[in-house]
Symmetry: C2
Subunit: 126 residues, 2 copies
C-alpha cells in the first residue's frame, strides 16, 4: 500500500479533493449518511428521521452523494413510485467515520457548552 506521493492533496486549493471535501463537510450530508448506515431507506423515511431538513435540501444532498458514488438509488416501478436509497460499497467505507463524528458531538456536548460559556464570559466587554 504505497501512500507516498499521492497525486491528491486537500491542502492544495486547485486539487479536486477540495470540492469533494466541501460536499462531505456538510451538516446534511453527514446526517443522511449516518441515517443510511442503519438501513436503506426511502425518501420520506429520511425526511422524517432527519428533523428539520427540507425536501429541497434532502433532494440536493442525495443527488450530490449519488453523484460522488457514495449512495445508490433504486427505483421500484410501483404505483405510486417507490425509491430506496442505500449506501454504496464506497459509502460504507466512510460512514463509520461520519457516524463517529455525530456520536462524538453528542458525547462531548456538555464540555463544549461549558467552553462556550467560559469563552463568552471572558469576551464580554459591553
Amino acid at each position: 500500500m504505497n501512500k507516498l506521493q499521492l497525486p491528491y492533496d486537500v491542502y492544495d486549493d486547485r486539487c479536486p479533493t477540495r470540492d469533494v471535501l466541501s460536499r462531505l463537510a456538510d451538516k446534511w450530508a453527514l446526517l443522511v449518511l449516518g441515517c443510511l448506515e442503519k438501513e436503506p431507506q426511502r425518501f420520506n423515511s429520511l425526511r422524517r428521521h432527519i428533523r428539520g431538513i427540507t425536501q429541497k435540501m434532502l433532494t440536493q444532498t442525495l443527488r450530490k452523494l449519488e453523484r460522488d458514488g457514495l449512495i445508490s438509488r433504486k427505483i421500484f416501478p410501483t404505483v405510486p413510485v417507490t425509491v430506496e436509497y442505500s449506501l454504496s460499497p464506497l459509502g460504507k467505507t466512510l460512514t463509520h467515520t461520519m457516524s463517529f463524528l455525530t456520536l462524538w458531538v453528542e458525547d462531548n456536548m456538555d464540555a463544549m457548552l461549558a467552553a462556550q460559556a467560559a469563552f463568552d464570559k471572558a469576551n464580554a466587554t459591553s
Copy 2:
C-alpha cells in the same frame, strides 16, 4: 460508561448538537484541525499551509473552534505580537477522525471521479 438515554440527539433539530455539528462539518474547520494536529502553529503559518483560505475565513474558523473549546490560543507579548494556536485536550480527541476524513477523500478520489463521470454521462439529456 452509560451511553444510553443521552440527552443529545443530532437528528433532533432543536438539539444544540446541531449547531456544533454545523460548525464542525465545515471545510475550513476540518483543514484547520488537520493542520494543527501535526504541530501548534501561528496564524500566518496556518494561512500558508491551507492554500486558498482567506484571512477572514481563517480568523472566523479559529474563533469558532476556540469558542467550542477545541483549540487554544496563546499570545506571546513579543514585538510584534506572536500568537500560537494549538489543539486543546478536547480537540485532540477529535482530530484523528477529522484527519481520517481528509485522507479518505485523497485515497478515494479516483473512485469518486469515476462515479461522477458515470453519473454525468447517465444524466446527460441535452
